[in-house]
Amino acid sequence: MKSCLVVDDSRVIRMVARKILEELNFDVDEAEDGQVALERCKVKLPDGVLLDWNMPVMNGIEFLVALQGIPGGADVPVVFCTTENDIDHIREAIGSGASEYIMKPFDSEIIQSKFVQVGLL
């Protein structure tokens, strides 16, 4: 079973993501901001990360940059979420090491297709 870390400050969104991912047979772990996610990754790298952008303490981009610094971190596929139809953010995320981006609100179908694209499914 592959593991996926869901990083989002909203419990509601984590709940939704967990539901979708568990249906896709992922072992789901959650973190409510980049800092917590990073601590998790230092202990054990997940197989994939679903990452929000706008979070307190440490935002998505900062987390991405830090993740690259962890041994093996650069190889973890990260799917970046955003509600903003903002090409700059997406570009910045991809530049910082994100594998794919996804628009909120996401559903099972779009997650499935994106995860296939990054090789998680």
Partner: protein
């Protein structure tokens, strides 16, 4: 309800609460990018999650708000009160929609194009409608707060059935969405930034969680951060609490059984069980603890809206927001607190113009302060506003017919102020939309008292008002003292027990229990006593006698507010942790019981309410603390009564001495009396105390017990030998002077019997030749060795005779006159005194008029004056000072009189 929807409602209302606070902060610090970022993110999150749940109406409102915030963040729009109000209006709309959503589980029909259009217009820099919008907005934003004056104003996280709970104590909480409920208490003191912490304690809590998270400590276990808190349903916690309560009871029961077994193999495991139960109980109690800041979080917003509506400048300071208390208590005080803060803002703080005119800073301050004290939490709500208008309250009280005009005269300012807690009184001249509708402080007081709390009020006109609330930390389990009276056991909450005194005939503490007015003299104070058996009217005739005759009686000294009293009980058992169960509705009217509980042995007993019992100590007013020391003399509105100790000695005529002069009553073993010639002496408190017979030459028997009235002055004591102590009575004293018998001032009719009043001074001189001599009066004379001269004005010969020797002892030269006329005559004759002591109630010219005459340019206009009166109501003191008395002393309080004289003289 759908889990996801439930979670959404919880999370979003948490975020809304933070937003309210953060926006008000933003208005004060418009250039704080961190604040802006946080606000933007929260609104953004709300909008984002709406998308997942298919809530287009909410999403569109949130989106419009986010739009403005985005522009503000990017510096395109300035932070102005108008902008903030508009965003707040947007948030209010979101709250409204959330409420509907919660009630119906469906997003309400309708649309918000008007609001959205205005939001968008503003975002686009279109601010033409500003002024109109503002007034419009002020009405709208406060609308929900106003209409539900005493209902919870908005949705609480708790109402969704959730409360954040600490998973481990070490937690460094990171999820600010969890509004850092537990963070405040977890963060080490060192981590708390000091800077304007006080000014905005609640928001600071949120900031704290972020700060801590940025600096993860080394000791922190990696990866465990997110699991520091879990959320559990409140019902689950309540259930746990109930189960623990039952467990505590069962534990107590087991311990009781164990106590009766001398040696038991269960002893060790039961001790362990007891220990664990206690810890478990504490642990569960802790999960119910929440910082009081949770109840305060809405206040900045409320005050902010009010200040705009009322056109005032108000600074809200919150100190001690991290102080924790039981969530049940928290829920119960939330509304009263909100109401009181609203009152302070509305009635208390003046408009800037008036403040400036009164030399105050333009901005008014409302300070909320919470702290722990013993097992209580104290909350203060203080404003520096105009204070209570006593004259208006007085008017209102009279209008409402609560008090007659004559009774009103005798009330002090403070007592009049307490009427704001009465139903139906509002002093707001105009009824605003906010308060002043006559519902309020009475409800506040009732609600606080319902949970065993007290609320006090202090107000100075022009300076401000302070409300002090004291409430128990928790309601569920209390420590209580188990006592027995007439074979029944009762529990008294430990919190109101000050001490236990064992009174017996031979001990130092003796109940001077005479004809239904029992008192206990304890460390020079007279405590009014109430017999539990009598006040509960428990019948057990044979036991009653037994108790009265038994040598030992237990007195539980209790305290309610500033009022101390004693409860006579038969036995005292142990203190026990008891689980408070509410009293049955049928018993609820009985004020002496506050609940019931099950004891360790399984028996059900009643919990006594000290407040109710205090009321049984007679007609003593609980409010007036100034009369504590003269408690025995009562306060039934007729203050010219004097408490007299009645005794018999020699002949059959009852004899009396003012109780205030008596130090104590003793029974002395005659075999211990030593004789030095004719003089009887007894060892008393490591000194030899002379015993003087009332009737000269009477011979004392050599065996058995002897009743003695002890008079004390500094270290010396004298015992007056009497046959029998009869009673303590209160009566109007009208002494007919008769100087035939030495040692007697005269006789008076007391309780219908002719009674001889003894001259204490005479017996004191018999005991010690130098009692009234020059001993111990060093330092009380003037530098030249001249004695200070005192003029004593009193129409009562009895009082003059009482006071004169007493003042002589102190080294004063006393001149006494019986009327103001005689006094003024001395003045005209050119007599000069260092100080004047005057009675108030005198026929002809009274003391007040006397003082006015003296102060109105007489030769004595500079001479200090001290009033002596049986009337010591605060109103009298005020009046006394007004007419020119330097001080005011209660009659028969000789220590106070002497101290006052020395003090007054030292000032002149």
């Amino acid at each position: 309800m759908d889990d996801l929807l439930n979670e959404f409602l919880t999370e979003t209302s948490e975020n809304m609460d933070i937003l309210d606070v953060e926006l008000v902060k933003l208005e004060q610090n418009p250039n704080d990018p961190a604040l802006l970022g946080n606000i933007f993110r929260l609104v953004h999150t709300i909008k984002g999650t709406c998308g997942f749940l298919g809530l287009p109406r909410l999403e569109s409102v949130a989106h419009a708000g986010e739009n403005i915030l985005g522009k503000i963040r990017d510096g395109e729009i300035e932070v102005t009160p108008v902008a903030v109000s508009l965003v707040l209006e947007c948030l209010d709309q979101i709250k409204l929609l959330l409420q509907e959503l919660e009630a119906t589980e469906e997003e309400p029909e309708g649309e918000d194009s008007d609001l959205i259009a205005r939001l968008n217009a503003f975002a686009d820099g279109n601010v033409i409608e500003q002024p109109e919008e503002q007034s419009d907005m002020a009405e709208n934003t406060t609308a929900p707060a106003v209409e539900t004056d005493f209902e919870p104003v908005e949705e609480e996280p708790d109402e969704f059935g959730f409360v954040p709970v600490r998973a481990e104590d070490t937690g460094k909480n990171i999820d600010p969405a969890a509004i850092a409920v537990e963070v405040a208490s977890n963060v080490d003191e060192d981590d708390i930034p000091d800077s304007d912490e006080e000014a905005s304690a609640v928001p600071a809590v949120v900031a704290k969680s972020e700060e801590v998270a940025r600096e993860p400590s080394d000791s922190q276990k990696t990866g465990s951060v997110a699991n520091q808190t879990i959320r559990v349903n409140v019902d689950l916690l309540e259930n746990l609490m109930t189960m623990i309560s039952e467990l505590v009871l069962t534990r107590n029961q087991l311990m009781q059984i164990l106590r009766n077994e001398k040696e038991s193999e269960f002893s060790a495991p039961l001790q362990r069980l007891s220990h664990v139960t206690t810890e478990l109980q504490e642990g569960v109690m802790k999960t119910r603890m929440q910082p009081i800041g949770n109840a305060w979080s809405k206040l900045p917003r409320i005050v902010r809206d009010l200040s705009i509506e009322l056109d005032k400048k108000i600074d809200l300071q919150m100190i001690g927001a991290e102080t924790e208390l039981d969530r049940q208590v928290l829920e119960l005080i939330k509304d009263p607190l909100t109401h009181m803060v609203r009152n302070s803002a509305d009635h208390g703080i003046e408009v800037p113009k008036d403040r400036l005119a009164n030399g105050k800073p333009e901005t008014g301050t409302i300070t909320l302060k919470a702290y722990h004290e013993g097992g209580h939490i104290c909350i203060e709500i203080r404003d520096d506003g105009k204070g209570l208008n006593t004259a208006r309250i007085r008017e209102k009280v009279l209008d409402a017919g609560l008090v007659s005009e004559s009774d009103m005269e005798s009330l002090s300012t403070q007592q009049i102020q307490q009427f704001v807690f009465n139903a139906g009184l509002s002093t707001a001249a105009a009824v605003t939309s906010v308060s002043g509708r006559g519902v309020g402080m009475d409800v506040v007081k009732t609600n606080i008292e319902k949970i065993g709390g007290t609320v006090e009020l202090q107000s100075t006109e022009g300076v401000g008002t302070t409300f002090s609330i004291k409430i128990p930390l928790t309601l569920a389990i209390v420590s209580a003292l188990i006592i027995e009276s007439a074979g029944e056991r009762f529990a008294i909450p430990q919190i109101s027990v000050v001490e236990l005194v064992m009174a017996s005939a031979n001990s130092e503490h003796k109940i001077e229990k005479i004809q239904g007015t029992p008192v206990l003299r304890l460390r020079n104070r007279l405590l009014p006593l109430v017999s539990l058996q009598n006040s509960l009217k428990i019948d057990s005739a044979e036991e009653a006698d037994e108790v009265a005759d038994s040598d030992e009686t237990f007195v539980v000294v209790g305290q309610v507010g500033t009022y101390s009293f004693g409860i006579i009980v038969d036995r005292v058992y142990d203190t026990e942790e008891i689980v408070v169960k509410p009293v049955a509705p049928v018993l609820r009217q009985i004020s002496v019981f506050s609940g019931n509980t099950i004891l360790g042995d399984g028996s059900v007993i009643l919990i006594l309410d000290p407040n109710g019992i205090a009321a049984h100590t007679g007609d003593l007013s609980l409010v007036d603390a100034t009369n504590q020391d003269t408690a025995a003399s009562g306060e039934d509105g007729d203050d010219s009564r004097v408490a007299m100790l009645i005794f018999r000695a020699g002949d059959k005529t009852p004899k009396a001495v003012p109780l205030a002069l008596v130090a104590r009553l003793e029974e002395i073993d005659r075999s211990k009396v030593e004789w030095s010639g004719d003089r009887a002496l007894v060892q008393y408190r490591k000194q030899l105390m002379p015993l003087i017979p009332v009737v000269e030459g009477s011979v004392m028997e050599r065996e058995g017990m002897q009743s003695v009235i002890v008079f004390s002055d500094r270290e010396r004591s004298m015992g007056l030998i009497v046959d029998e102590i009869v009673d303590i009575v209160e009566d109007r004293l009208n002494v007919e002077l008769n100087t035939v018998n030495e040692g007697f001032l005269g006789s008076a009719i007391i309780h219908g019997e002719a009674t001889d009043i003894i001259d204490t001074g005479h017996f004191l001189t018999l005991a010690f030749d130098d009692w009234f001599g020059n001993a111990n009066n060093e330092g009380f004379e003037t530098g030249k060795g001249r004695k200070r001269s005192v003029l004593l004005v009193d129409d009562s010969a009895f009082f003059r005779n009482l006071i004169t020797p007493m003042l002589s002892v102190e080294g004063f030269e006393v001149t006494s006159v019986d009327s103001v006329e005689s006094a003024m005559h001395l003045c005209e004759k050119g007599r000069r005194f260092d100080i004047i002591v005057s009675d108030i109630e005198m026929p002809g010219i009274n003391g007040f008029e006397f003082a006015q005459q003296v102060r109105a340019g007489s030769a004595w206009s500079e001479v200090p004056m001290v009033a002596v009166s049986a009337h010591t109501a605060p109103k009298d003191l005020d009046r006394g000072r007004e007419v020119g008395f330097n001080d005011y002393v209660a009659k028969f309080d000789r220590t106070a009189l002497i101290n006052t004289l020395h003090h007054t003289l030292s000032l002149h």
